[in-house]
Structure formats: structure tokens, C-alpha cells
């Protein structure tokens, strides 16, 4: 296709996933019915890549999205038949491993020849460790070296440019580690329309569209329904969204007809504001996005047109998420029911606090919640209207040492038989704390690389 043909067409980009464990079937539906040019899977929350790094330390072949094979067995045959290219950060802590597994699947399904690109370069652990005394934590301004605990990962949010590079080299499937979530969607737009990497307004328009779908079904009726106030038809069969992007940056967000959910001004506005701070200055690796002049128009059933996005020059530095093992969290829950249940739960809290003291349990922080009363909003909860019929008492404590977290959980467990009357059997868990902190590094610290596999 030549440049002028490209300019006149509409690019269709689907959102097939928005977190590591996201559902598999909707992406297959998109691949089958949406006539997509690109299918994007976003699967990395702040901590996901650090967890993947821990997996990879245990098993060098692991560390990429656990559902990669399920997703590709479902969608790849349709993508191959229709020429739909795939862009995804499912590579997580091991993009090369993800690409190799993808090649196996392509061969097994006899879909070749196809080119699979692994994008490397987001892993900046060595750089961060070497500069730990000068890199400042965005959370508190102190140096990275002030953190107590073992640093296990450091990944920079790379921009669309690295994926554009892979697409320009003919990749049918691009698998990355950490990149900006929206950049996954922006890369195909830049590649197909030839947008300049310093045309801030057009990149801003692209990112507004990307922001609309980077949380997948959150724009098409997911996380929206509130019966009697905000109705969502057939939420069970929720359809995932896709974008229709024109070369001038006008974008329509829509979904496959016949699927459940809905797309209207209300769903789009909720999603647009979700996880942004200053709407005039939303920082992405590619462009600083200005949402303040965005308008949303319902132009058809489940079709909203997005206009008015703008942009400002991209940041000089890139954000890095640093994963650090900081200690342990012990957690346990027990439920009381019937008349007087709240008083029995309160007595149980007293008992556990006393026993933690007797046992000399060393906790950095202890939290006690009454589920059904105030667990989510604490003292800001609306007052109870009478006594609840049942209440779940929950303890969670953070400790430097594992044994203290275990001890907390055990003191709750032994409430059965050694605490107040008439409870459920408690549940308990003990898990390691993998905390995430952020630092900024210069772009010059990044050396990205595209490794191409041919299946």
C-alpha cells in the first residue's frame, strides 16, 4: 500500500486484554469478527513484571504471560487468515522466551511463515544498581540505595518507537517487556500513518484513543454497572473494544455488534479520567497528553467519536519501576454470624491483640477490618443501620521476618476453640511483599534491541 492509500483508510486496532489474567475468549471474538488490522494485548500492571522476574529466577524459560499459549491458540488462526498483526507486552520479564514459545505455536498450528519480534531493552536493573546512590525515588526524593530489602527488578517504560522499529522490520507479532500501556496502541498508528515522532498534537490524539481502550472492557461496560443507575446489557457476554483510527487522529471507539456491554459518553468519560492526574499533562514516554479539550460524541449505537486530543513534547527522562522484596504480609479472616456477632468479633480482636503482645510478634503495621461494616472505607464508612447478621473479621500485618507474619495468621486461626463462640473456620495466607518504587532515568541509558524469530 502506498502512502496516499494509507492516509485515506481507517485503521482498526482491538484491545484483547488489559491485565495478566484477563479473559481469553473476547480477544478471539475480536480476531474473528472485528476485521482488525492490529490486535493488542496489554498484560502488565505495575507489579506484574517484577513477579514475572521472580518466576524467571526460578525457571529461566518462564517469566512471560502465563496465558500466552491460551490466547494465541484461540486468536492466531483468525489473525493469520485476516492479516491482523499483534502487539503485546506479554513478554513481561522474558520477551525472547515468549517469542520462542509463540514460534512453537505457529509451527504446531501450521500458520507459518510468520515473523515474531522480541523487543529487549526495558530491563535496566544493572544501570539502576550502578547508580543507586544518585537515582532519587519519586515517592520520597531519597536515593534508591536508602531502600531496605533486595532489589529484584528494574524496568523502564519504553515508548512506541521500539515497537514501530519492530513493525517496520516486518514483524507479524511484536512481544515486549515493559512499555507504556498506551504506547502499545500508538505504535501501529505511527507505523501505518507515518506520523512524525515529534508531531505532538497528532501523537496526543493517538494517545487519547489509546487511553480509551488500554484498560480493555473498562470502556465497553466493564466496571460500570450499578443497577437502577447505570444499566449494562448482557454484562456476562461483555464485548471488548476496538478503535477505528483515521490518519488525522479522529478516532471512533466501538465493539463487535451482538456482544454484551455498552459504549457511550458515560463509559468513555469514566475511562478517560481513570488513572490520570493532571488532565492537561498526562505523561507518556511518547508525548505529554492534554485531555482538556477532548469531546466525546455518540455517533451510533456503541460508537463514540473522540476528538480534540492534543500533545506537548515528550519527557526527557523515562520512568522505571523498581521491584524490591521488603518483607512479609500475614493475613487471616474469621466470620461470626447471628445475634451478637459484632460483639463476638470485637472480643476476638481484643483477644488476638493480647496474644500478639504475649507472643512478642514484631509487626511494622497491623490492620483490623470488619467486613460488612467498614473494611473498605474505615472511619469514612456510612454508619451501620442496626447490627449486621454476620461480620467477617480480618487481620493483616506486615513484618520484616516471615515468622512474625506466620504468627499473626496463626493467632487468628486458633480463635476457633480458643476465642469467642460460634465462628466459621478461619482462612489464612502468608505472602512475600514485592513492593514497587519509581525512579527516572535518562533516555540515553536505554539500548533497545529487536530480536526477530521466523516461524
Amino acid at each position: 500500500m502506498n502512502q496516499s492509500e494509507r492516509q485515506g483508510r481507517v485503521l482498526r486496532i482491538g484491545a484483547g486484554a488489559s491485565y495478566a489474567g484477563d479473559r481469553v475468549e473476547p480477544a478471539t471474538e475480536l480476531a474473528k469478527h472485528a476485521q482488525l488490522d492490529y490486535l493488542v494485548y496489554e498484560t502488565l500492571a505495575e507489579r506484574t513484571i517484577a513477579l514475572a522476574q521472580l518466576e524467571r529466577l526460578k525457571n529461566p524459560d518462564a517469566g512471560y504471560n502465563e496465558l500466552l499459549a491460551d490466547r494465541f491458540y484461540g486468536a492466531l488462526p483468525y489473525c493469520r487468515a485476516q492479516g491482523t498483526r499483534i502487539v503485546s507486552n506479554m513478554g513481561a520479564a522474558n520477551p525472547r522466551g515468549a517469542a520462542q514459545r509463540t514460534v512453537e505455536i505457529i509451527r504446531e498450528l501450521k500458520l507459518g511463515p510468520m515473523k515474531v519480534a522480541a523487543v529487549l531493552g526495558d530491563d535496566v536493573l544493572e544501570y539502576c544498581l550502578a547508580h543507586r546512590d544518585t537515582l532519587k525515588l519519586m515517592e520520597n526524593g531519597k536515593p534508591l540505595s536508602s531502600l531496605e530489602g533486595k532489589i529484584v527488578s528494574a524496568n523502564a517504560y519504553l515508548g512506541a518507537d521500539v515497537m514501530v522499529d519492530a513493525l517496520a522490520r516486518g514483524a507479524d507479532i511484536v512481544l515486549t517487556g515493559r512499555v507504556g500501556d498506551c504506547s502499545l496502541f500508538l505504535a501501529p498508528m505511527i507505523h501505518e500513518f507515518g506520523w512524525a515522532m515529534d508531531d505532538w498534537d497528532i501523537l496526543g490524539k493517538g494517545q487519547v484513543g489509546a487511553d480509551m481502550v488500554e484498560c480493555g472492557a473498562n470502556v465497553s461496560g466493564g466496571f460500570f454497572a450499578d443497577p437502577g443507575y447505570k444499566e449494562v446489557p448482557d454484562l456476562g457476554n461483555l464485548g471488548y473494544p476496538f478503535l477505528e483510527v483515521a490518519a488525522d487522529g479522529t478516532i471512533v471507539v466501538t465493539k463487535v455488534s451482538g456482544t454484551g456491554g455498552l459504549i457511550n459518553r458515560a463509559t468513555c468519560t469514566e475511562q478517560m479520567i481513570y488513572e490520570i492526574h493532571d488532565p492537561a499533562n498526562y505523561i507518556t514516554p511518547d508525548v505529554v497528553v492534554d485531555f482538556t479539550e477532548v469531546t466525546l460524541d455518540e455517533v451510533g449505537p456503541d460508537r463514540v467519536m473522540i476528538k480534540g486530543g492534543r500533545g506537548k513534547p515528550r519527557p526527557e527522562q523515562l520512568k522505571v519501576s523498581v521491584g524490591i522484596l521488603e518483607g512479609w504480609i500475614g493475613e487471616a479472616m474469621i466470620t461470626y454470624a447471628g445475634l451478637g456477632c459484632l460483639n463476638r468479633a470485637k472480643l476476638a480482636e481484643e483477644v488476638v491483640r493480647k496474644r500478639l503482645q504475649i507472643g512478642g510478634v514484631n509487626l511494622q503495621e497491623l490492620r483490623v477490618d470488619y467486613l460488612g461494616v467498614n473494611a473498605l472505607h474505615g472511619d469514612a464508612s456510612l454508619p451501620l443501620q442496626g447490627e449486621p447478621y454476620e461480620v467477617c473479621l480480618r487481620f493483616a500485618g506486615r513484618a520484616r521476618e516471615r515468622r512474625d507474619a506466620v504468627k499473626l495468621a496463626n493467632e487468628v486461626e486458633t480463635l476457633v476453640g480458643k476465642g469467642p463462640a460460634s465462628s466459621s473456620i478461619p482462612t489464612k495466607t502468608v505472602r512475600e511483599v514485592l513492593a514497587i518504587y519509581s525512579v527516572l532515568i535518562p533516555r540515553s541509558a536505554i539500548r533497545h534491541e529487536v530480536v526477530m524469530e521466523v516461524a
Binding site: 482538556t292 477532548v294 503495621e365
Partner: protein
């Protein structure tokens, strides 16, 4: 002066909240464009911070988005030390959208009549 009735904010607006580190943001969107001035006037950053009790440990900022009839509240230190370290069962603060909607709002008579016609009721106190 117009008579005022008190309704929960839920009758006038919908909301979604999300996380970044130890910061939560709550987007608040008027159901109708003519409700937006009420939000701007009454859902002040001071009121929201007070309404959230001990949840917000840091600064709170409000951004106005008149084109889409929405306000965005950025609440720092509101996620128990950060999503990845928090002891809360809602470490992301995704339920904070429901908390902001429990804010009582003084609603002028014409809008109150509109709400009641739709079956919405004032707070019974």
C-alpha cells in the same frame, strides 16, 4: 432563595477511581451537563478530603474538566503506603468511587423535582 433538599451525590453523578503508587484518583462525572455547576460549587477538594476521613494522608488536588462535565480528584497518600505494600483488601482504592458518591449535596428545587420524578429520593434526615 430556593428551597434546598439534600440528596446523596450518587443521584447527580457517577464515578470511577484508580491507582498509581500511593496516589488514588477519583473521576466524578455529572449525569447531566446542568448538574455540573453543583459539583463544581459543592464538591470542593476540602470537602472531599474531610469526607474521606483518615484515608487521605497527603495532599488532595481537584482538576476541572468542563468539556466532559467532570472533576478529577487526585488524592496522595491514600493507598495505605502504595498498592504493592498496602494491607487493605482494596489496595488500589477502586471502591473509593463509591465513597465519594455518599457525599450529601444540597440540591435546588428544580433539580430536586427532576430527580424525584425519576424516582430518586432525598436523604431521609
Amino acid at each position: 432563595m430556593k428551597t434546598l433538599k439534600t440528596f446523596y451525590l450518587r443521584e447527580l453523578a457517577h464515578a470511577r477511581s484508580g491507582d498509581k503508587g500511593d496516589t488514588n484518583n477519583v473521576g466524578l462525572i455529572a449525569y447531566e451537563p446542568h448538574y455540573y455547576p453543583l459539583l463544581v460549587q459543592q464538591v470542593t477538594v476540602e470537602r472531599v478530603k474531610a469526607h474521606f476521613g483518615t484515608i487521605v494522608k497527603g495532599a488532595a488536588t481537584r482538576y476541572e474538566m468542563p468539556r466532559v462535565h467532570a472533576l478529577n480528584f487526585v488524592l496522595e497518600g491514600a493507598l495505605g503506603g502504595g498498592v504493592t505494600r498496602s494491607l487493605s483488601i482494596d489496595p488500589h482504592g477502586k471502591s473509593y468511587s463509591a465513597l465519594i458518591l455518599t457525599l450529601p449535596m444540597a440540591v435546588p428545587e428544580d433539580i430536586a423535582a427532576e430527580l424525584m420524578q425519576r424516582g430518586r429520593k432525598p436523604i431521609p434526615w
